[in-house]
Symmetry: C2
Subunit: 341 residues, 2 copies
């Protein structure tokens, strides 16, 4: 236990109020300059650290934020959602830096939304973050929290509603941009390969691709889309082979996810193609995965860090001033990360 403002006050010959105000930067000239300096100097010297329990008690806050996830934490690794952990890491850091500790709630996916909402309302936390939830469940939970005037934000969920605070990457825009990029680069045919373990966002991605093909080439891209039955490395290899054999002229490949990109590159090589040299390959998702491929995969980013920055910014603002807060959302546009392919 370090020094308290009371002790500091005694040392400075000031009142606890003065110390408190100075240390939390809330004195609007209420404290004289030389006294102010002395307080700050001694606080620094004695390594003062504010006690968040006391602060929270006085302010009626908990200084905790609940992070709600669908299912068990480790499930997301199995379904290839690496970005989930990236998001969790950024959230943890941002909240830690803002003085909040976290509460990870692993919500059983089998439960009824109403029950989940009731349980969430019981949690003693200043705010809630929903990580990568499906839109329907997220909307229901956000609604229920909103009714109880509990600050909340969905991070990694695209909602159609502007009553809530949410953020996500615009997958449709990213895939449209990728498609245009490949075509403008001189490719007359683009293969769209679905190699995601978790197919949640497939429709958005397909829509972006089809729009890009139609706008650039004036034709329907439906026959250029390939989806595999299973979702293992081998499935993706055979899917790629099938696509290459069906469209032997194609020199452009668009992947729905970076997760099995190594399998695609492997299969392309087996078919005599050389990603980055005689054909282009563009992925989507986690950069660390893309950089583990050889050659390293060019791809569109999920912009998780920016999403977290936006979401936590909004959440903290709502916590600080719930009445003035207006729900807001942000859909991040395409960001291309150029690598070797």
């Amino acid at each position: 236990m370090g020094i308290t403002i009371r002790q500091l006050a005694r040392l400075c010959g000031a009142s606890t109020a003065a110390v408190s105000l100075v240390l939390s930067n809330k004195d609007q000239g209420r404290v004289g300059a030389q006294r102010r300096e002395k307080i700050l100097r001694l606080a620094e010297q004695y390594g003062y650290q504010s006690n968040s329990a006391a602060k929270g008690l006085a302010e009626g806050r908990t200084y905790r934020v609940a992070l709600a996830i669908e299912g068990v934490l480790s499930d997301h690794a199995i379904i290839g959602q690496f970005s989930f952990y990236e998001r969790l890491g950024f959230l943890a850091k941002a909240l830690h830096d803002a003085g909040y500790s976290i509460e990870i709630l692993q919500v059983d996916t089998g439960r009824k939304t109403a029950d989940v909402c009731r349980d969430l309302a019981r949690i003693a936390a200043d705010g809630f973050v929903l990580l990568n939830w499906e839109p329907e469940a997220a909307a229901a939970i956000l609604l229920s929290l909103r009714e109880k005037r509990r600050p909340a934000v969905a991070s990694g969920t695209l909602l159609r509603d502007d009553q809530y605070t949410w953020t996500d990457v615009d997958r449709a825009a990213a895939f449209e941009d990728a498609t245009r990029r490949l075509i403008r680069d001189g490719r007359r045919q683009v293969v769209f390969l679905d190699c995601e373990v978790h197919h949640t966002h497939l429709p958005e991605k397909q829509a972006g691709f089809l729009k890009g093909v139609r706008d650039e080439l004036g034709r329907d891209g439906k026959r250029w889309m390939f989806a595999s039955g299973g979702s293992s490395y081998d499935d993706v290899v055979s899917l790629t082979q099938k696509a290459v054999r069906r469209m032997p002229e194609a020199r452009a490949f668009l992947l729905t996810d970076n997760f099995y990109a190594a399998a695609v590159e492997h299969a392309l090589r087996r078919e005599g193609l050389h990603p980055g040299a005689d054909c282009r390959v563009i992925g989507f998702g986690d950069t660390a995965l893309a950089d583990r491929c050889t050659p390293r995969l060019s791809h569109y980013s999920l912009q998780v860090e920016r999403q977290v920055e936006f979401g936590i910014g909004a959440l903290l603002e709502e916590i600080q001033n719930p009445d003035a807060f207006q729900p807001r959302h942000q859909l991040f546009g395409p960001e291309f990360i150029e690598r070797d392919t």
Copy 2:
């Protein structure tokens, strides 16, 4: 904000002390039975929830536990340490259930241990958990925390020291057991395939294997161990092929990790073998990964859940009674999970 003990006391016609004692189960017959009942009934009825800020303030606790990890949270997915997230999930649940919130500290691996220790000491938390740290760094940090009398435990690290609290699975014992199992099952040759992304624990695993071979067959197993250069799916496929061609009689395969087990099974099939039918394959690690293989992989478990139970139990005990606490450790013996191979 729910009901407080003061309000509850008024409702029951009792004192706040009585309510407090009853609700925290600290009344040793100090409160009359019928009054006790009434307090409990009303608390239940009004959904009383203790305010952890107030509780912490009164007790001089924070009700926070810091979880320190090496590097960034998402790194562990890239290096195939799925069990890391399983551990984190179990820890989060156990701590949540015990009323603690968490603070995730992503420690930059490039920093000097002394600096890390200094920063950790600044953290306002009742206890520390080190997740999957390397032994040297873990020991240094545990020592420094011990000197400052801060409760701490290493979860997923094997230390040679019984001055600290730590827990891990006994990899050497698991690999010895696996080897004996395969040999006693009638296999005269056992292939040891290193297919882990992260090679930290390889020496322990090799030692267990060599001991098993020596004890059962009285020979040296060194020539039966194969390690790949890279650590991709394709590397593991070629590694397996090489092993099969080098030891065509072998009908037993022991894998250092479940991560690329699908690659091994794939390669075995390509070589005309059928895991689970004409040959045995035993892995090590995450069960969810093993169950995603076809056929599902028999393997030795990391026993993460039991490790967490032990570690958190010890940590909470140390937090509650730091003076009486004796450091303890537990190395979990082999647990075989039989599946199809």
